[in-house]
């Protein structure tokens, strides 16, 4: 039988769907009898949902940064306009 500390340490792997069937059953059995762990697991999941939603909006480029990238691309492109083509091969797009 897993104790509360073990169940808590497995919360991340549980969220990421990385647990074996045996582990999932062990955690399920523990959660049936432990209200503290049920609360922790619920709060852990909810806090990630909130943080992820905020991060998706937070980590967007500022206008100045976008302008800088674009200006730099234009500057880099001008000398090579007469002879286009990558100077460095990009990685193959394979999954």
């Amino acid at each position: 039988m897993l104790n509360c500390r073990q169940v808590t340490e497995l919360a991340c792997a549980r969220l990421d769907g990385e647990l074996s069937a045996l582990r999932r059953v062990q955690i399920h059995m523990h959660l049936m009898i432990c209200s503290h762990c049920r609360r922790f697991q619920r709060q852990f999941k909810q806090s990630q949902e909130v943080a992820s939603a905020l991060a998706a909006k937070l980590w967007v480029a500022e206008e100045d940064a976008i302008a800088q990238v674009i200006n730099s691309l234009q500057t880099q492109q001008k000398p090579s306009e007469s002879k286009p083509g990558p100077s460095q091969a990009p990685p193959e797009d394979r999954s």
Binding site: R5, T8, C12, Q43, F44, Q48, A65, I66, Q74, R94
Partner: protein
């Protein structure tokens, strides 16, 4: 600054930031499918490329900083954008666009790291471990006391709390670079952990611990706010 020339050598086409700022943080599906975006990019649509920069530039910086540190990250990301711009016409869609682009950023950062290794001191990646003694538990591994009760009990309600949002945004901005990159790649880009390990040149074990630490830190912020109403 309202407009900028993003013609990249084609006839001047003044561009208004406000046209894409509203859509930059939304998932692609809400605005257009990835296939439609790729078609526009491959047709040389500069507005589509600017939208791409708005959506990914900050994320690329986070990834680059976690690999090579702050000093060279901007250079690396600029080089990556140049590679993406040159190569987008040849993108065949065998992976998602974001996977392909992040791979370019990762390759660029790791290549730069190899070149600059003698000149920079990148924070060494220690093998990260979870704490052995967690004060929340007694010697038998049981909770010392119950996790705190939350008055604001749903994600929807939490997102309506301005002060809590500010606390979490501050925490997200100040996460250690590696934790931030792992959280970004897992929670927003939804890569699997082994892929993240390859992209950041870290072991899978370290990725798991970094993610666990970031998530616990964010949970602590919410716990503290629920108990005190402060960050």
């Amino acid at each position: 600054m309202d407009t900028i020339d993003i013609s990249f050598g084609s006839p001047l086409q003044p561009f208004r930031f406000s046209q894409y700022r509203k859509t930059a943080s939304k998932p692609l599906r809400q605005n257009q499918t990835e296939a439609q975006l790729i078609s526009r990019l491959q047709a040389g649509d500069n507005q589509a490329f600017a939208t791409l920069i708005a959506r990914y530039h900050q994320k690329f910086l986070i990834i680059a900083r976690s690999i090579i540190g702050d000093v060279f990250a901007e250079d690396v990301v600029q080089e990556a954008w140049a590679s993406i711009h040159r190569a987008i016409g040849n993108f065949e869609g065998r992976s998602s666009l974001s996977t392909w682009m992040i791979q370019i950023v990762s390759n660029e950062a790791r290549s730069r790291l190899r070149r600059e290794k003698r000149h920079i001191s990148v924070e060494e990646i220690e093998t990260v471990k979870l704490a052995d003694n967690d004060p929340r538990f007694d010697e038998r591994g049981h909770w010392q006391q119950s996790p705190p009760h939350w008055d604001i009990a749903t994600p929807e309600l939490m997102l309506q709390e301005d002060q809590l949002r500010r606390c979490l945004e501050h925490c997200l901005s100040n996460l250690p670079e590696q934790q931030k990159a792992v959280f970004l790649l897992r929670e927003i880009e939804q890569f699997d952990l082994d892929n993240i390990a390859a992209m950041l040149a870290l072991s899978s074990g370290n990725i798991r611990v970094l993610l666990h630490r970031a998530r616990l830190r964010l949970l602590d912020i919410v716990n503290h706010y629920q108990e005190t109403g402060e960050c």
